[in-house]
Amino acid sequence: MLLVPCPWCGPREAIEFRYGGQAGIAYPDDAEALSDEAWADFLFMRDNPKGAFAERWYHVAGCRRWFDAVRDTVTHAFLPPDRPGRPRR
């Protein structure tokens, strides 16, 4: 089972977390101004890289904080964590 590096609690078992998908996809400032295509792109399209991937995680059974982490999708290794609102790129 993965150890997920919570920036607040340290490494904890993956069952304590909820996965939040790709990080760094901000809610549009003016959603109404987006074309159907641009909105669909925001809504549905996500990267699926082989290698480093910035993800949102939620320590739901712990400190209940959302944070971003970068994980290698091949080795499952996490890069050092960062704080919410400052996603690592």
Binding site: D36, Y58, P84
Partner: protein, 876 residues
């Protein structure tokens, strides 16, 4: 007698401690330290097993977990439907019978005894799997670094165990799996292990006493994992190689040296490496007549093994092409040694083909995982020989437990398969209980050879945990029955139990489903409860409603973004119903918001959606809008809620005793008041999920039971009935109130529900708003919520049934929708349903059909509101 106990020797057995056991009905004897297999050999039992598919005679073939033939059912002193005799420690009173590789569960599970299982957790710096020389050396090397070291080994006996204080040794402990970041699951069996069972990790103060007769499933988290899992000998595919008496050379040696057992009387050795050929010396010393040593490296071959119920003769082909026959009862075979890398591969370790050893060795893996000893590739050099070219391919067995031969592989390749993984799935080679431990590498190499590829071109098929068979009972451990999942009950639960309620599970909650009276059927209870609410008064325990306090200066603005309608202009003291959407515009949850103060709201969610909605609030607040000053707190369990519904609800609350003015003008619909009920501080809310006059009483949870009893007592003169979730569902459906998750399924918009009135496009952005303009969402032929009246008022259509527009009777027929809710309505005196119907908003009045296997039920499409459409009853 061909095999038998030697006069002396046997490092792992204690001859002074006899053990009695039963095999296939015969009472036999062994000694402590024996496995069932070694004890059988000691009694002259080599064969007696059958292959699972072809029913061929089979015998003990190996000495460990790789055994493909000698499978047994254990019925005493514990029950195990299928176990390799080579892995069963012999204990007094053991009762076993041979099984052809397929276990059978008892008809009555209560009739068998299974060992209890505890789960324990261990955190160590180093976990060493395998207690052979390399594993013990690795444990000793890791010792002294100030960390905890755990050494586990599957055998019940461990030679020369480390005795340093920081190394904890568990024998009889099989590592079932190794997972990410040094997590391992280890099953420690109690049977066959003597001595005290106390585990100490480094420090005397941290002793873990283990129950003596229960198995332990260890969850180990290790900083570093060392695999010292040894090597497994591989056979050579030759005609007749599945006869009892054909045995892996290393196994023959193990039986002599560890168990003091002679596996045969007159033997031949057929090997492609020094270690295998050396077994001849071991056998001679044990008094076995070694008739012939066949060195495959020189080109000599055993080209056939033959016999009836067991091996009687082999045919040797010499380097100059002569054929010689030898009468033997044991053929010890060694094609070479394969590092035992099942655990290694299951966590992503790579492999490389090693020409000198003619096998696959580890190559590249996670940084926290290392391999030592034979598992690391330190195995004897061997000449590659997978299959003997002479003789009948259909008699050359590759996977003994799946009864698959070289001919079967050739057939799979003849069908066009080119990958060993495909051949595995076509032939099932490697998929049996033994996980292809003896067959994997030779199957891969035979595939490569038949395809004309280089040795090692494909590699063996992958391995997955568990490494060895483990019962679900062991994996489940204590998480069974009442401990399977948390059970949540409301403060009023004891009253419901005492009054005979039937319960339904709503998430983890137990909710009263109906309250039967005098053993009446459920349908009758629900009818009675519904009529009480419509004609007099009923009370339901609504404590499970999700409740979240949303507090802060930006709480009004935040809720405006979360709900489709406006919550910021809600007056303090008022209540508004709200709908929440996903970003995709689909209905996610519903509930009410009560404005407690300018910057304080209490919002309710569906019972099942409480945790989800709180998490969602947190995600938006933390990850998208950290500038908003809002705090969310779950108060679901802090408040008990009693909903009193019915024309006499006002009289019941009044009779219960309250300081709140209940009059229509002072306390209008969709407002709440703080005060007291029955002397208890309470929040009274005028919301209704039945359409009747209704009061929700919110009280601190510890007053819930008292208040419930007070309400029931005060309500008695008014005919109050407790009602459950089923009556609640009927009542809400009569009013067309949707149940999120029953009438909706994540593909339903507010418009689909006919709820455009709750979508406020003037207030600014809210979650899901932009999606409501997507082309797919404004399609006119989307499914819409409608009511259905079966033309026959007694016909009850099943929930989930499909709708069609024309009763053609021809299959297939174009489907137009489906039934989401269906009930008998006591108030309407007929059955009715809610349904999602394509273009349904435009189809009111038309007939649709529910095709069922027994009959087609015609229904009239109506509005989703069947009862009191003008809402005349809500004020009493």
């Amino acid at each position: 007698m061909t095999s038998g106990r030697l006069a002396d020797g046997g490092a792992w057995i204690d001859r002074s401690k006899p053990v009695g056991f039963t095999f296939d009905g015969a009472e036999l004897g062994g000694v402590e330290g024996d496995t069932l297999a070694s004890a059988l050999l000691a009694n002259g039992v080599v064969g007696g097993f059958r292959s699972p598919i072809l029913g061929r005679p089979r015998g003990i073939y190996a000495a460990g977990v790789e055994e493909p033939n000698a499978y047994t059912e254990i019925s005493a002193p514990w029950f195990d439907p299928i176990a390799a005799a080579t892995t069963v420690p012999l204990v007094d009173g053991l009762v076993a019978r041979s099984r052809a590789g397929v276990g059978r569960l008892p008809a009555d599970p209560g009739s068998v005894t299974s060992p209890g299982v505890r789960h324990r957790f261990a955190h160590v710096e180093v976990l060493v799997i395998g207690g052979g020389a390399s594993g013990r050396a690795a444990a000793r090397a890791a010792s002294g670094d100030g960390g905890r070291v755990l050494l586990v080994d599957e055998h019940t006996v461990l030679d020369d165990p480390p005795t340093v204080h920081d190394v904890t040794v568990r024998s009889g402990a099989t590592a079932l799996g190794v997972y990410d970041n040094g997590y391992a699951v280890v099953l420690e069996r109690s049977r066959g292990v003597s001595g005290t069972r106390t585990v100490t990790f480094t420090d005397e103060r941290h002793q873990i006493p283990l129950p003596p007769t229960e198995d332990i499933l260890w969850h180990v988290r290790a900083g570093r994992v060392v695999l010292a899992t040894g090597a497994i000998e591989r056979p050579i595919a030759l005609a007749g190689n599945d006869l009892p008496g054909v045995m892996l050379a290393g196994a023959a040696e193990t039986y002599v040296e560890r168990y003091g057992v002679r596996p045969g009387e007159r033997a031949a050795v057929f090997a492609a490496n020094d270690l295998g050929l050396g077994v001849a010396d071991v056998l001679r010393e044990a008094g076995v007549d070694v008739a012939r040593i066949v060195d495959a490296r020189s080109g000599e071959l055993v080209i056939e093994a033959s016999g009836g119920e067991r091996l009687e003769r082999i045919l040797v082909r010499t380097t100059d092409g002569r054929e010689e026959a030898f009468d033997v009862d044991l053929l010890a075979v060694s094609g070479g040694w394969n590092p035992n890398l099942g655990l290694w591969r299951s966590i992503g370790g790579g492999l490389r083909y090693d020409d000198e050893r003619a096998t696959f060795v580890p190559d590249g893996g996670p940084p926290w995982l290392s391999v030592e000893g034979s598992a690391a590739g330190h195995v004897p050099a061997s000449t590659p020989i997978w299959v003997v070219e002479y003789g009948d391919d259909a008699a050359k067995f590759v996977d003994l437990q799946r009864d698959q031969t070289v001919a079967d592989i050739a057939e799979a390749l003849g069908g066009g398969l080119r990958s060993v993984e495909h051949v595995k799935r076509a032939t099932y080679i490697g998929t049996a209980v033994d996980q292809g431990r003896t067959s994997g590498v030779i199957a891969a190499e035979i595939v490569s050879q038949l395809l004309g590829e280089a040795a090692g071109a494909q590699g063996p098929s992958n391995a997955r945990p568990p490494y060895a068979p483990a019962s679900y009972l062991a994996l489940a451990g204590p998480t069974r029955g009442d401990l399977l999942d948390p059970i949540r009950t409301t403060p009023m639960h004891p009253w419901h139990v005492a009054h005979g309620a039937g319960f339904e599970n709503v998430g983890q909650w137990k909710r009263p489903w109906y309250f039967p009276r005098d053993a009446e059927p459920m349908e009758r209870s629900v009818e009675r409860e519904c009529l009480a609410v419509r004609n007099a008064v009923g009370a339901i325990d609504a404590s499970t409603l999700g409740k979240i306090e949303v507090v802060g200066a930006d709480a009004p603005a935040f809720l405006d973004r979360m709900y489709t309608n406006r919550m910021s202009n809600l007056a303090v003291g008022s209540i508004r119903y709200g709908l929440m959407l996903g970003l995709d515009g689909m209905v996610l949850d519903d509930g009410v918001a009560m404005r407690l103060a300018e910057h304080r709201y209490l919002v309710t969610t569906t019972t099942g959606g409480a945790a989800l909605i709180l998490d969602r609030f947190e995600e938006w607040l933390q990850a998208e809008w950290p500038e908003l000053r809002v705090f969310c707190t779950s108060v679901t369990e802090q408040w008990a809620v009693i909903a009193i519904n019915g024309p006499r609800a006002r009289e019941v609350v009044s009779a219960t005793g309250t300081d709140v003015d209940l009059s229509r003008s002072a306390f209008p619909f969709m407002t709440f008041r703080d005060g007291h009920v029955a002397g208890v501080p309470a929040r009274l809310a005028r919301v209704s999920f039945s359409g009747e006059l209704a009061y929700e009483l919110h009280v601190p949870a510890w007053h819930g039971l008292d208040l419930w009893e007070a309400v029931m007592a005060a309500g008695e003169p008014f005919g109050i009935e407790p009602y459950g979730t089923e009556a609640m569902h009927v009542l809400r459906a009569e009013k067309g109130y949707v149940l999120v998750g029953q009438d909706t399924d994540g593909s339903v918009t507010p418009h689909d529900l006919g709820m455009d009135w709750i979508v406020n496009l003037a207030k600014g952005d809210f979650v899901g708003r932009r999606s409501l303009r997507r082309s797919d969402i404004v399609r006119p032929d989307r499914k819409h919520l409608v009511g259905l009246f079966p033309v026959d008022p007694e016909a009850l259509v099943p929930e989930g049934a499909q709708l069609v527009l024309e009763d053609t009777g021809e299959i297939p027929m174009p489907l137009a929708g489906h039934v989401t809710s269906s009930y008998r309505s006591p108030a309407l005196g007929r059955t009715f349903a809610l349904a999602m119907l394509a273009g349904g908003h435009e189809l009111h009045g038309r007939t649709v059909y529910v095709p069922l296997p027994e009959a087609t039920v015609p229904c009239t499409v109506t509005s989703s509101v069947s009862y009191d459409p003008d809402g005349e009853r809500r004020d009493g």
